[in-house]
């Protein structure tokens, strides 16, 4: 999978498979921000990425705790900024040290961190096409604000 891709998923199952394929392109220090409305499948895509790192645990929604940490082939950080209201909270939460570590960080609602995410961040934009289908666009954060 190219890191600048425009994909279409026909189902939740396929969204997870696409996440798995995309996950295989990721390595230590990579940060992925997933953007899209409620119910579009952000967590499902993140679960697919987790599959590619052999995470030996249920990857569930991190909305409540903001961040869940898992171990697999690499440390796997699953974050959710749904409940953050401004980039200043992101600074306060002190995630930068973690993002710069050896793990892979997947951030749902990542756009809420504004310009605080590193420049190397990959952005996954998910949109509804209809009830079942979703468009998934992958870009570098610097390419599209």
């Amino acid at each position: 999978m190219n890191r600048n891709s425009q994909l279409t998923s026909q189902s939740a199952l396929q969204t997870r498979s696409l996440g798995r394929v995309f996950g295989k392109t990721l390595g230590p220090g990579d940060v992925v921000a997933i953007t899209g409305p409620l119910g579009v499948g952000k967590t499902v895509f993140a679960q697919g990425i987790a599959d590619s790192f052999d995470i030996d645990d249920n990857v569930t929604s991190p909305t409540f705790t903001i961040m869940n940490e898992y171990s697999g082939k690499l440390p796997f950080y699953h974050l959710d900024f749904y409940r953050l209201n401004s980039p200043s909270e992101f600074i306060w939460l002190d995630f930068k040290e973690m993002l710069d570590g050896e793990g892979v960080s997947i951030i749902e609602w990542g756009e809420r961190a504004g310009d605080e995410l590193p420049k190397r961040t990959l952005r996954v934009i998910m949109e509804f096409i209809d009830n079942d289908r979703r468009s998934i666009t992958i870009t570098r954060i610097g390419v599209q604000k």
Binding site: G39, T43, S61, T65, N68
Partner: protein, 336 residues
Amino acid sequence: MNILGIETSCDECSVAVVAEGKTILSNIVASQVERHAPWNGVVPEIASRLHVEWIDEVTSQALKASGLSLETGINGIAVTYRPGLIGSLLVGLSYAKGLAWAADKSWIGVDHIMAHLYAAHLENEIAYPHLGLIVSGGHTILCRVESLDEVSILGATIDDACGEAFDKVAKHYEMGYPGGVKLDALAENGDSGAFNFPQPRLGTRRYDFSYSGLKTAAINQLEKFRTKRTEASSTNIAASFRKAAIDMLISRLKLAAKDTGINRVVFGGGVSANRYLRRVVDEDSSLEGYFPSLDLCVDNGAMIAGLGYHLLLKGKRSPLNLNAQARVSKFKCPYP
């Protein structure tokens, strides 16, 4: 033996004094609900800052209401150390350590889920083993409880927590905050047959839950699941969603009761205040349900003190380097 219990895992700053693990001498809950209402959800930064501001005063009030002094009346301290919001947990945990150190008291870190399972025991005599269903904004856990510190997890959510789905649907339809409570109230006047929302098919994971599909259906696919009978009013959406969400809990629970032969069930967590859930369980003669009273369903210091009493009595102690944990990893069978 009087135990001081401290709970700050999310947005309730609560301190209680409980005697012999049973008698609640005081249970002060300073709720942050109003502070988070403008954002329709708990804001972690606000939560931990308010805990810092409030914990000392809440502790003083709990001691005063109990009529006991820390120095002479309190025999031990119990505090939640996991799971929850890390910043919030750290406030209570650090405060408890400081208090225990300064006053030279025994202390113990308590697991929040185990404490919720204990809450109904504060008010009832419930024999072990029993089933447990802990459902809140952060947790959806079905378990078999052998004793107060021996639990095996039968099922849990594979995506969103039940209460999280309530909150997100309520937020989307601007039903008010806290979302789950407002949705439950609206649902009382709605037609639960207005939408025939789907139940997840999880194959062999017979005790697990999934709420993301239901959330998506209720937020994005209303027309697809609409029965022709009635209009798409917020009361009808609330009633149909609530029925689907709670029926999922009930179906897993009945399956577990049948498989284990245990029909005693202890409920806990914010969603156990849900009116429809309580009605269904009360009317079902195959289940013997124990619900904590409403102030013990939500996060509270009394359940921490209650469970802490038994752990301390067994001689358990926590080291001063005990750290807070946001989540319990690989918690399936047995927990922790």
